[in-house]
C-alpha cells in the first residue's frame, strides 16, 4: 500500500512546521526520514498516522485521502516517546491494543503470541510494562504498532536510547518487515539510515532538501571525486603546479608536505585519476598511495541542513 504525500503544510501559530512537502513511499520500501530537531519530521509522521488533521495539501493511503475517511487500521504507528500504559502487564496491553484495532477474539490471541515471538518478549510477557528496561519497552512499542499486521509502518525514532546490540536487533527487525510493508522511519543516527533504508529523505525547516538513495545523495551533494594521493620522487611545488594544470582537476591541497601527500578534488563528473596517473608516468613519479575518498553522509547532512 502506497503513501502519497501531496503539498502538505502545517502551521503552529506563525511558525510553518511543514511547508509544502510532497513525496511517495512504496510497498517493500524503507524510507529513512532525516532532519535536525524541529525540522517537521514528527509533525509529518503524526499527520500520516492521522493523529493531527491535514491542514493544506493531502495524504493518500493506498489512493484514498485521509481527509475523507479514517484509514488508521492500515497504519501501525510508534510515537516518538513510545508512550505506554505502564501499569498494565505486557500481554494485557497488547490484547487491549489488538481489540482497539478491531481484531476478532481468536485473532487477538494469535497475533499477540506472534508479536511476543517476533519482538522477543517471551521472558517478559507477564511483567508490568513499568518493570521493563528501556529496550524491552521499545519492543513493546513496536509490537503494539504491528499487532494488526498493518500494510504501513510509521516509526518515529524507534532506536533512540537503545544499546548497540538492541539497535542492531531492531534494525534487522525493521529490515525484515520492510520486505513486505511500506516503512517510514525517522532517526538521528546517520549510519543507521545507510544500513537500513532503501531511500533517504532529508527535511529542514519544513521543506524537503534531499530525496534519494545514499549513493545518489552523495553524487548530488558532491558530484566530484576526491582522492588522497602520495607521490614520491618529485618536488612538492612542481607536483602541485603540474597537477593543478590538469583539465579534470578542480582543486589540489597539500595534506602532508614532508610525505608529498595531496588531496585532489576533480571537477564534477570528470574522473581525474587517469590523467594524474598519466602525468606521473610522464614525469617518472611514483604513486605509492591512491585512496578514493567518499563523502560521509554526515557531511551531506550538515551541508543541507546548516545555513
Amino acid at each position: 500500500m502506497d503513501i502519497q504525500v501531496r503539498h502538505l503544510s502545517k502551521t503552529y501559530g506563525h511558525q510553518k512546521a511543514v511547508d509544502d512537502i510532497s513525496f511517495d513511499v512504496h510497498p517493500g520500501e524503507i524510507l529513512g526520514f532525516l532532519g535536525p530537531n524541529g525540522a517537521g519530521k514528527t509533525t509529518t509522521m503524526k499527520m500520516i498516522a492521522q493523529y493531527l488533521a491535514v491542514e493544506t495539501g493531502d495524504i493518500l493511503i493506498g489512493g484514498l485521502s485521509v481527509k475523507d475517511q479514517t484509514l488508521k487500521s492500515q497504519i501501525g504507528y510508534l510515537p516518538e516517546s513510545n508512550p505506554l500504559y505502564h501499569e498494565m502487564p505486557v500481554i494485557d496491553y497488547l490484547e487491549y491494543v489488538a481489540a482497539l484495532q478491531g481484531l476478532s477474539k481468536e485473532k487477538i490471541k494469535e497475533r499477540v503470541r506472534e508479536m511476543v515471538k517476533v519482538c522477543g518478549l517471551d521472558v517478559e510477557k507477564h511483567k508490568q510494562i513499568s518493570e521493563l528496561s528501556k529496550g524491552y519497552k521499545q519492543r513493546v512499542g513496536l509490537a503494539q504498532a504491528m499487532i494488526h499486521d498493518p500494510a504501513i509502518l510509521i516509526l518515529d525514532e524507534p532506536t533512540t536510547g537503545l544499546d548497540p546490540n538492541q539497535i542492531i536487533e531492531i534494525r534487522e527487525l525493521i529490515k525484515n518487515l520492510g520486505r513486505h510493508k511500506t516503512v517510514l522511519f525517522s532517526t538521528h543516527i546517520l549510519p543507521e539510515v545507510e544500513a537500513t533504508c532503501d531511500r533517504i529523505l532529508i527535511i529542514n525547516k519544513g521543506k524537503i532538501v534531499a530525496d534519494g538513495t545514499a549513493g545518489t545523495l552523495r553524487q548530488q551533494a558532491q558530484g566530484h571525486e576526491i582522492h588522497h594521493i602520495r607521490i614520491e620522487d618529485g618536488a612538492t611545488q612542481e607536483i602541485l603546479s603540474q597537477v593543478r594544470a590538469l583539465p579534470s582537476v578542480q582543486k589540489v591541497e597539500v595534506l602532508d608536505p614532508g610525505k608529498n601527500k595531496f588531496e585532489i578534488i576533480s571537477k564534477p563528473n570528470m574522473p581525474s585519476n587517469r590523467e594524474v596517473f598519466q602525468l606521473c608516468v610522464q614525469k617518472h613519479w611514483v604513486i605509492t598511495e591512491l585512496i578514493p575518498f567518499e563523502t560521509k553522509l554526515e557531511d551531506i547532512f550538515r551541508d543541507l541542513t546548516m545555513n
Binding site: Q50, P83, L84, G102
Partner: protein
Amino acid sequence: MDKILVIAKKEFGSFFDSLVAYILLVAFLGFSGFFTWIQGSDIFMRREADLDVFFSVARWTLFFFIPALTMKMLAEEKKTGTIEMLLTKDVTDREVVLGKFTGCLMLVGVALLFTLPYYISVAWLGKMDHGATLTGYLGLLLMSAAYIAIGLFASSITNNQIVAFLLALLIGIFFHLLFDFLAAGSSGWISDLFNTLSLSNHYDSISRGVLDTKDLIYFGSITAIGIFLAEYFISKR
C-alpha cells in the same frame, strides 16, 4: 459500540489495578453504611422503612468521589502521551470519551450494587415503598452520569490531574448547591432559571419517586454536553 466496550472494560479494570476502585468502594460503603445504620438519624431512630438517609449521604459521597475517578482519565493520557497512541488506533475521539464514561459509570454501578443488602434489610424490617427506592437508585445513577461527564470535560482541557479534579468539583458545586442558593436569593424568572439548573431539585423529585421527563431531559442534557465538550477538546490538537 465494540470499541466503546473495549475501552470501558480496560478503564474499569485499571480502577481495580490501581486500588482506586477498592478505596472508593470501601469509603462509599463505609460512609453510607455508617450514616444509614449507626449514626444520628439512622433508620432505627427514624423508625421508617426507607433509604432516604442513604440516598442523601450517597449523593454527597459520589459528588466528591466522581471527580477523583475522572480526573486522570484524559489528563493523564495527555500528559504521558498515551493519548497519541490511543487515538491513532482504529477508534474515534467519541468512542474514546464514551468508553471512559462507560467504564466510570460501571464502577459507580458496582458501588451501588453493593448497597443492595441495605435495601433487602430495610425491606425485611418494614413496609417499604419499592417504587421510590428504585427511582432513588435511578436518580443516583443519572446524577453520577452527569458528574462523570462534567469530570471528563474537566479532564479534557488540562493535563494536570489536580486541576482537573478541582475544576470538576467547582463546576459540580454549582449544580449541587450554588444554583439552589442563587435561586433562593433571587426572584422572578432568574429564580426560575436557577431552580431549573439546580441538580438537587431534579434529584429530589426523582428520589421522591416522581419520574418526570423534565428531569430525565435535564440529566441527559448535562451528560451529553459534558461528553460533547470533552470530545471537542481532545479533538483540538
